[in-house]
């Protein structure tokens, strides 16, 4: 087992472990904070896969944006004097069975399928290549993504603002 393999195993364990805490913990705050570890773990996985730009984006947007939003959501939807942020659950057993069934079928397909494999080149920085693709082949999705963000902005602001308009 090389150093890389050991590191991968540790990171994978941290990621899956913290994801398990997210879905199993009784406390909402513990869930939110272990989601932080999950996101970081995923970012490190991206680095292992040679996706440096994606890893930076993951940290910036997921940890720096989405997680903060979720924490706001947690905090703003509870009465502050009652910090007993416990959550209840629906039936655990059917959920567990379904999740196990899903995992088994996905794992089976993951390990046995003949995935398309190409010879790998050594990992190189991707930022420039991604930038060129954004302005080249992926220009249309890039523009549509900006419209999507505009719509989300308008929608979220409209739903939450208090003043009523004439």
């Amino acid at each position: 087992m090389s150093f890389f393999d050991v590191m991968f195993c540790i990171v994978a364990l941290v990621t899956v472990g913290s994801a398990a805490i997210v879905v199993l913990s009784r406390s909402l705050i513990y869930s939110a904070f272990s989601l932080l570890f999950t996101f970081f773990g995923v970012a490190i996985i991206y680095v292992f896969l040679g996706a440096d730009f994606l890893a930076a984006t993951q940290v910036l947007i997921y940890v720096g944006g989405i997680l903060i939003l979720l924490l706001f959501g947690v905090m703003l939807t509870h009465r502050l004097y009652n910090l007993n942020l416990k959550t209840e659950t629906f039936q655990l057993i059917p959920g567990m069975l379904i999740a196990l069934a899903v995992f088994t079928s996905l794992a089976l397909s993951a390990t046995q399928t003949r995935w398309k494999l190409v010879t790998q080149k050594p990992a190189e920085p991707t930022t420039e290549a991604i930038g060129k693709l954004f302005m080249g082949e992926y220009l249309l999705p890039f523009e549509i993504a900006s419209i999507l963000l505009l719509v989300a902005l308008i929608g979220a602001a409209m739903l939450v603002r208090r003043r009523s308009d004439a």
Binding site: D5, A12, T15, V16, A19, A20, V22, V23, L28, A32, T38, V42, I45, Y46, F48, L49, G50, A51, F53, L54, T57, Q58, I61, G65, L69, L70, G73, V74, L76, T77, T87, E88, T89, F90, Q91, G95, I98, A99, V102, F103, A107, A110, T111, W115, K116, L117, V118, Q120, T126, I130, L133, P141, A145, L148, L149, V151, A152, A156, L159, V160
Partner: protein, 101 residues
Amino acid sequence: MITLQHYLLLSAALFSLGIFGVLTRKNAVNVLMGIELILNSANINLIAFSRYSSHGLDGQMFAVFVIVVAAAEVAVALAIVLTMYRLLKTVSLDQADTLRR
């Protein structure tokens, strides 16, 4: 030796945990966390395949767009959840069932 299959197993685990979270959690923000796990697992898939299965960066480009969509989705979802809290003073999903008369 870490191969493609290891990454796929990791993402399968995250996906299953996300499905479990979505099915069993009552708090709306908790369900959102489960959805984020699902999206992250798909992203790991895309980037792993981008490295092992194709010469270009298509998978990584797709993953960037998924991150963008996830951010927008969380923003809108939280706006809806906050509105719900304002109206009902709770975000528990079993309180949100008046439509099913």
